[in-house]
C-alpha cells in the first residue's frame, strides 16, 4: 500500500496495540489507527469503544454479511462481541469525558516534543475535520499517535512546536511511525525502538526536534 520505508502500517499498529493492558477500553481514530483492532490480544480482554455509541465492537464484518445498521466511527461495517452494548452519542462522549477511555489511538499531521499534536486542520485550509478527536485527546487517559515519519514531501512530522492548529496540548504519550517508536518524556522526545532497516541517522535527519537517543536502541518489537 505505502512505499514508505520501515514498518508497514499494520506493524505500526501491532506495536502500539502491544501496549494495551488487560481490561482497557480503547478508542481508535479513523485512518491508520483502525488497524489496531486487527491485532491478536491473546488473553487480554480489550473493549473497543466507538464515538457513535458502539461499546465492544469486534472484527470487520465479512463481505456480504454486513449489518446495515452497524458501523464503527470510521464508517466501517463491524461485528459486535458478546457483552457489547449500544448507547447514544451523548453517552458515548460522556464515557470519554469522564475518563473511562484508557487509550485513544489517533492519526496526526504533526506531534511536538511537548506532547502537543495537530490532526484536524491542514495548513491553509478553511474549516476542518475534528470529529471526536478533541474530546478524545483532552480526556482519554493515554493518547497514542500512529503516523508516517514525514510528509510526502519529506518534511518532518515530529517537530519542536506544531505549525498548524493543535487538537490538544501536552497530551501525547507515545508515537509510532514507520521509522520507530517514540515516547514524549518530561525531557522531550525520546527514541525508544527503531524500525528494521532504518539507521539512527535516518531517524535524526527526518525528525524536526531534538531527539533523546539512548546508547542502545532496540529494534521495534514485532508480532511473532
Amino acid at each position: 500500500m505505502s512505499d514508505a520505508k520501515g514498518l508497514t502500517r499494520q506493524q505500526m499498529c501491532d506495536r502500539l496495540a502491544m501496549e494495551f493492558e488487560d481490561g482497557w477500553m480503547v478508542n481508535l481514530g479513523i485512518g491508520i489507527p483502525t488497524l489496531c483492532s486487527n491485532c491478536d490480544f491473546g488473553d487480554k480482554a480489550i473493549v473497543f469503544h466507538s464515538e457513535n455509541g458502539v461499546v465492544g465492537y469486534g472484527a470487520l464484518a465479512a463481505s456480504g454479511k454486513e449489518d446495515m445498521h452497524l458501523v464503527n466511527a470510521g464508517g466501517q461495517h463491524v461485528t459486535m462481541n458478546p457483552g457489547s452494548a449500544i448507547v447514544h452519542h451523548a453517552d458515548a462522549f460522556g464515557m470519554i469525558r469522564s475518563g473511562r477511555i484508557d487509550v485513544t489511538v489517533l492519526g496526526a499531521y504533526e506531534v511536538a516534543e511537548n506532547g502537543d499534536f495537530a490532526n484536524w486542520k491542514m495548513a491553509g485550509q478553511k474549516g476542518g475535520g475534528i470529529g471526536g478527536a478533541m474530546d478524545l485527546a483532552a480526556c482519554a487517559k493515554h493518547v497514542f499517535v500512529a503516523m508516517e515519519q514525514t510528509t510526502r514531501r519529506g518534511a518532518p512530522r515530529l517537530v519542536e512546536r506544531c505549525a498548524i492548529p493543535v487538537t490538544a496540548k501536552g497530551v501525547v504519550d507515545l508515537v509510532v511511525t514507520n521509522y520507530g517508536l517514540f515516547e514524549i518524556t518530561p525531557e522531550g522526545m525520546a527514541l525508544k525502538e527503531i524500525a528494521p532497516g532504518i539507521s539512527i541517522d535516518e531517524v535524526k535527519s527526518t525528525t524536526g526536534c531534538n531527539l533523546i537517543v539512548p546508547k542502545e536502541v532496540p529494534p521495534v518489537r514485532l508480532r511473532g
Binding site: G31, E51, V54, M68, V71, H88, A92, D135, K169
Partner: protein, 257 residues
C-alpha cells in the same frame, strides 16, 4: 383518541417548514440518516436554513445520487452549517460545503463531536450551558470563556436548540415512541430532545399504541411529532450494501457519458 402522529408522505411531513429554520439532521455514516427527508426538504425548498449534523455527506453505503445535505447546499437552501466536519478528511474528497464555504456563500461553525452532542442534549434537558475540557487550548477556544474547576481548565459551551429534528428510526408506535437498531441511535434521540418538532422516517410498519413495551422504548414519544413509514425501494431510500452501491455508481457514470 389523541391525534395521530402518522403522516402519509414525506412531502406532507415537511410542508410547513418555514424559511430560516434551525434543523438537526441525525445519523452517523448513513446509519440513522434521514435520507428521505433530505429529498423531501429539497423539493419543499425552504431557504436560509441553519443545518446541524455531524457532517454534510453520506458514506459508502449510499450511491452518488442519494440525497444528503449536499442536495440542500447545492439548491442554495442553506445559510449556515453547524457540524464536526467542515472540511474533507482526505485530500481526494470534495465537499459541496467546502465549495460554498470558500466562496462565502455559507457560514460554517465547527464543533467537536462530543460538544455538538452535549449541546443538543443540554437544550433538550433545560440546561442553558455547560463546561467541557474538549477544545481547551485550541483555536476554537480563542477569546472564549473558560473556567478552572478542581485545577483543570474547561470551556463554556451553550445549549443548541433546534426548531426541527429530522431523524430515522427502526420502529415506532402511533404514540411516537421509538426504537433504534444498533448504531442507528447515535445523535437521533439528542436531536429529538433539542427540537420543538421532530419528524421521523421509520423503517418498520408503524405499530399500534402499546405494541412496544414501555421498558423497551429508546426515545419517548413526548419528543416525537411526525412519523412517516419509509416505502420499499425504489420509492424510498434505504442504505445499500457495498456491491449494490458500486453497481449503481457505475450505472450513474455510464449515464453521464
Amino acid at each position: 383518541m389523541p391525534k395521530s402522529k402518522v403522516f402519509a408522505s414525506f412531502a406532507e411531513a415537511v410542508a410547513d417548514i418555514p424559511d430560516g429554520s434551525v434543523i438537526g439532521f441525525g445519523g452517523f455514516a448513513v446509519v440513522g440518516m434521514p435520507i428521505n427527508l433530505y429529498q423531501a426538504l429539497t423539493e419543499q425548498g425552504a431557504k436560509r436554513l441553519t443545518c446541524v449534523s455531524n457532517g454534510t455527506r453520506g458514506g459508502t453505503t449510499m450511491p452518488g445520487d442519494a440525497p444528503t445535505m449536499e442536495w440542500l447546499i447545492r439548491n442554495n437552501q442553506v445559510a449556515k452549517v453547524i457540524c464536526s466536519f467542515s472540511a474533507p478528511t482526505r485530500a481526494s474528497q470534495r465537499l459541496a460545503l467546502t465549495e460554498y464555504y470558500e466562496k462565502g456563500l455559507i457560514e460554517a461553525e465547527l464543533v467537536p463531536q462530543g460538544t455538538l452532542a452535549e449541546r443538543m442534549r443540554a437544550a433538550g434537558a433545560g440546561i442553558p450551558a455547560f463546561y467541557t475540557p474538549a477544545a481547551v487550548g485550541t483555536e476554537l477556544a480563542e477569546g472564549r470563556e473558560t473556567r478552572i474547576f478542581n485545577g483543570r481548565e474547561y470551556l463554556l459551551e451553550e445549549a443548541l436548540a433546534l426548531d426541527y429534528a429530522f431523524i430515522r428510526a427502526y420502529q415506532a408506535d402511533e404514540a411516537g415512541n421509538l426504537r433504534f437498531r444498533r448504531s442507528q441511535r447515535n445523535f437521533n434521540p439528542l436531536m429529538a430532545m433539542a427540537a420543538r418538532v421532530t419528524v421521523v422516517e421509520v423503517e418498520e410498519p408503524i405499530l399500534p399504541r402499546g405494541a412496544i413495551d414501555p421498558d423497551d422504548v429508546h426515545l419517548s414519544g413526548i419528543y416525537v411529532h411526525r412519523l412517516v413509514k419509509v416505502p420499499p425501494p425504489p420509492e424510498g431510500w434505504w442504505p445499500m450494501r457495498p456491491p449494490e452501491v458500486a453497481a449503481r455508481n457505475a450505472q450513474l457514470q455510464g449515464a453521464q457519458r
